[in-house]
């Protein structure tokens, strides 16, 4: 075995844990109905600000849907307690005096909230080597019912026939496919019941079917708490899906059909506020695990470039992240291009291009 042996690893782990401070006191604020306000993360702070803007913008919509009655705008909550799933930002803003602590709703007089979710759209990468589509996560805000979970809202957004992806992006989920229910078990599996139309697949061939499943899987799962998803129709596992009758009766995860995707996949939506670091994470299976990033302005000028090493490469998938702290983002709008350099000609390959948006430019609403 190369590297540290087991005994040295154990010693290191023990020395590390020996630095542990005293445990913090019991977080009693969870017993209150007030949302936490201490130390929100920058992403959530941004999301909160974006949602406040969107709540105000949505007042006419709510007026229309509510038959002329307007509920008072209640507190905006950006606490982590609003979302329990995964590391992706999910923010709930109430438009009535309700709390976002699950199970402690004090008022449900207004049936709608604005919720921020992550959905995965597709893109045809530039200079594609394998000819597979790229997945790109987007943060968007939608109107939802207070009891809906973030993942259910995200899936309903992704399967909404009125979904209008921005230019350069697409979705392989055909109109008519719909989510019936979403439940989560205690073993890290989300159980998503779909309607009968789901069984027909994408309608665009086997690759389209894989892409459709990957969009749904990545949207329904996260990398930590719920990494797997079980699709059912009428409560039964699906044994015949799409063009080739794929057997997907076992839970799927983000790796199951990963080889049907572009070699560079982004897993975090670019969100934040001007002045915040730009954080971009993903997974890649590229030559020597070297992933490159360029920020390009609208004239095509490269204003920033960097590279990083994924945790695995050249035949295996590894995770990577870029964390840019000191860049002047006042020069936005920008396009972030993520790719690897082909060893044959040195040219960028499998290039994924994502718009970098900040503040009220982000959290775009893809639904009319």
């Amino acid at each position: 075995m190369s590297g540290y042996d087991d005994q040295r690893m154990k010693d290191l782990a023990d020395r590390l844990v020996a630095m542990s401070p005293e445990p913090p006191p019991f977080p009693e604020e969870v017993t209150l109905t007030q949302p936490r306000v201490s130390r929100p993360s920058p992403v959530l702070m941004f999301a909160g600000a974006a949602v406040v803007v969107l709540v105000l913008a949505a007042i006419p919509l709510l007026l229309f849907r509510g038959g002329g009655s307007v509920e008072p705008i209640g507190p905006t909550t950006t606490s982590p307690v609003a979302s329990t799933e995964g590391s992706e930002p999910s923010v709930t803003s109430t438009v009535a005096p309700t709390t976002t602590v699950p199970g402690e709703t004090t008022s449900t007089s207004a049936p709608q909230i604005l919720q921020g979710v992550i959905i995965f759209l597709t893109q045809t990468p530039e200079n594609s080597v394998g000819g597979n589509p790229a997945l790109v996560p987007f943060f968007t805000t939608v109107v939802a019912a207070p009891g809906d979970s973030a993942e259910e809202v995200a899936l309903r957004t992704l399967t909404n026939p009125s979904l209008a992806p921005p230019a350069g992006f697409d979705s392989h989920i055909p109109a008519g496919v719909d989510v019936v229910s979403v439940n989560s078990d205690t073993e890290g599996v989300r159980v998503v019941d779909m309607n009968q139309a789901f069984l027909g697949g994408s309608g665009s061939g086997l690759l389209g079917d894989f892409t459709m499943l990957n969009q749904l899987v990545y949207t329904a799962t996260d990398e930590e708490l719920y990494p797997r998803v079980q699709f059912t129709v009428g409560g039964e596992p699906v044994t015949q899906f799409g063009t080739d009758g794929l057997d997907i009766s076992e839970p799927l995860d983000r790796v199951t059909f990963i080889d049907e995707l572009n070699s560079v996949i982004l897993t975090s939506a670019i969100t934040g506020s001007r002045g915040d670091p730009l954080v971009l994470t993903g997974i890649a299976n590229v030559f020597e695990a070297t992933v490159s990033l360029e920020l390009v302005d609208l004239d095509g000028n490269v204003v920033y470039d960097d590279f990083t090493t994924a945790s695995c490469g050249t035949g295996c998938w590894g995770s990577f992240s870029f964390h840019i702290e000191d860049f002047d983002f006042e020069s936005t709008p920008l396009i972030a291009k993520v790719f690897w350099h082909s060893p044959e000609d040195g040219e960028p390959a499998d290039v994924v291009s994502v718009p970098v948006t900040w503040g009220d430019e982000a959290g775009r609403d893809f639904l009319p």
Binding site: D5, V17, P27
Partner: protein
């Protein structure tokens, strides 16, 4: 409203696991931010709609600590270490803080740190580590192999 019984349940759970969760968090993000991570993780878990249905609450809390630690971003430890190094030898650190060990661990990914801790501190078999982390056993082995290799490079 959360009932008095519910509050006691959560508090009992917390008191049962707070020490080990804080140690786990220390291994993930270092001693400076471990308490914050544990507090955030417990708030997140206790507020989850699924919390009342969770059968293995210890495992759920461990997963939540890892999730919160990942959000916390590993660069936070890097920043703390930079501050310590900038402050110089005259800076007063608690004697239990081992900067060399932290400097090595800082270079591991959060997943590698979790795999190392669950394997060598919690003494879990690879299958249990995989289950705890929500990844395959192959992924755990890869994380451990890479962690060993990195540590060999940086500590030897």
């Amino acid at each position: 409203m959360i009932t008095a019984t519910g509050v006691m349940d959560n508090e009992q759970v917390y008191r049962s696991y707070a020490v080990e969760l804080t140690r786990y968090a220390t291994g993930l993000v270092g001693p400076f931010d471990a308490a914050d991570v544990v507090t955030d993780a417990c708030l997140k878990a206790f507020s989850s709609r699924k919390w009342s249905e969770v059968s293995n609450r210890r495992a759920y809390l461990y997963r939540t600590v890892l999730s919160v630690a990942t959000d916390h971003h590993r660069s936070t430890l890097s920043r703390r270490l930079r501050e310590i190094k900038t402050a110089g030898p005259e800076s007063t650190l608690p004697e239990e803080v081992d900067v060399d060990v932290l400097s090595a661990v800082e270079r591991l990914s959060m997943q590698q740190r979790a795999a190392v801790l669950l394997t060598y501190w919690a003494d879990l078999p690879v299958e249990a580590v995989a289950s705890q982390m929500g990844v395959s056993t192959g992924a755990v082995k890869r994380h451990l192999a890479r962690a060993r290799k990195h540590l060999e490079e940086w500590l030897s």
